[in-house]
Symmetry: C2
Subunit: 241 residues, 2 copies
DNA sequence: TCGATTTGTCTAATGTAATAGACAACTAAT
DNA sequence: ATTAGTTGTCTATTACATTAGACAAATCGA
């Protein structure tokens, strides 16, 4: 096996610096309008060259997070990050209400397939039994904030795709099946880099970090009704339990 | 501002491939003992050169996740990832019991400081009032799994550092102050790249992804008793709500 | 034993990442 | 108007990332 003298971890220094500065901003250490330390100071803080810092700042500037002004300094422009509350009664639209003026859900595709072991286990059905699979994404104020894959048991929700297209609301669609209330049974949270497809759809730079949530919702009797795998760009969203 | 023709996002291709394969493994698509697709097949799947794939596999091999055998193929070795349950009664040691044979908590340092705005808000105390700050990390089976910073109000817990060193348990230390029970008021979850210090302490490659949890615990009367900022390597841990 | 398949090693070429230094352009205060 | 401090641009060099091709070494079944 190749000996790895490598120590850079495959993530460029400018990228790590950009992440660190972004964190100071969304974390509240730097408020909107504040001036950042000068490029020279940042370079020393991160033990990097000024040019490397400049590249990090250029990326943040492109995202609208900071803005540089020649002769004056670099300033914080937009420190906003959405918070998505997770709890027993987790509702996507309700949770984000008030944080964005527009909230759009897009259905990308849907199809019938046989449940994989993981899906079958989550939905508590026999492996390889039929499930409806929905692919979707959502945008807040025109910026994409999530990419989700949802599985539902076909036996109970054979035409879920058609109905959700009509109602444009998960809650109402479930209601149309006679499910007046449902609850979150479990949420599993992890993080990873975005893959090529996610990168394109969500408008991210390759290598952006995603928060991944695997959620199982159950009806009033505790029977699983859906299994959803949602990916949120960590730079735009945080999850609040 | 520099025009960014860049499109790689600052994360090397081999790193993204390694992440993708690791995800297939911890996600259950590949079980322990399974043979991975050949290097040639993986190279085509990721639209990359075989050498690039080999580098990704080399990193995973170094982590003990896969192992290559000349002439035979590359096999999944260790698909384990710890799950840390988060809920109303979140207890670190209890939560991980049974998942690792040894669980060690290390106290790195402690000091008195004045609460920043964020800490004061979390603990519901006046800004700049005194707080105890603890730095620590923990290991499961000798592998570091978290790095945490905890703040407590000094007025109520002036000698918390000394006591937790004696009891080696958060629950027992709180009990020694007459707090028989406490609960999790809120948990905020985000993700980012590890910084230099975290990289060293946790034994990660620079650029590793961390799950970041900001947690506030309250006593039986709902009064905040601690604010903890914990960082978990995403490749070793997941959070379950 | 042979041949197909698979991982291991080597060389080479090209583009990106990071460092280094110098100077121009702009701002704000003296 | 001058000066110190800041961002913007340019050139150059070194190390890493990625691609490419060729062949060796080990495994397994026919």
């Amino acid at each position: 096996m190749t000996v790895l003298k490598d120590v850079s971890g495959g993530v460029a220094l400018w990228r790590r610096i950009a992440d660190a500065i972004r964190l100071d901003i969304v974390g509240g250490k730097l408020a909107e309008g504040d001036r950042l330390p000068t490029e020279a100071v940042l370079a020393e803080r991160f033990s990097a060259n000024r040019h490397t810092v400049r590249r990090a700042l250029a990326v943040l500037a492109q995202d609208g997070v900071v803005g540089a002004e020649q002769g004056r300094g670099t300033f914080v422009r937009n420190a906003r990050r959405l918070s998505y509350p997770i709890g027993k009664r987790t509702r996507f639209r309700e949770g984000l209400k008030g944080q964005a003026s527009s909230l759009t859900s897009v259905s990308l595709s849907n199809r019938l397939e046989n449940a994989t072991a993981a899906v079958a286990k989550a939905l508590d059905i026999r492996s390889a039994s039929k499930v409806v699979r929905l692919e979707g994404m959502s945008l807040a104020d025109g910026v994409s904030i999530s990419r989700s894959t949802t599985w539902l048991p076909y036996r109970r929700f054979p035409d879920f795709a058609e109905r959700i297209a009509r109602f444009a609301s998960t809650t109402e669609t479930f209601a149309s099946y006679g499910i007046e209330d449902y609850a979150r049974a479990s949420t599993r949270i992890s993080a990873r880099h975005a893959d090529v497809e996610e990168t394109k759809l969500l408008g991210l730079a390759p290598g952006a970090i995603l928060l991944v949530s695997e959620a199982v919702d159950v009806d009033a009797e505790g029977v699983p009704i859906s299994y959803a795998l949602s990916r949120f760009p960590a730079e735009r969203m945080e999850l609040v339990v």
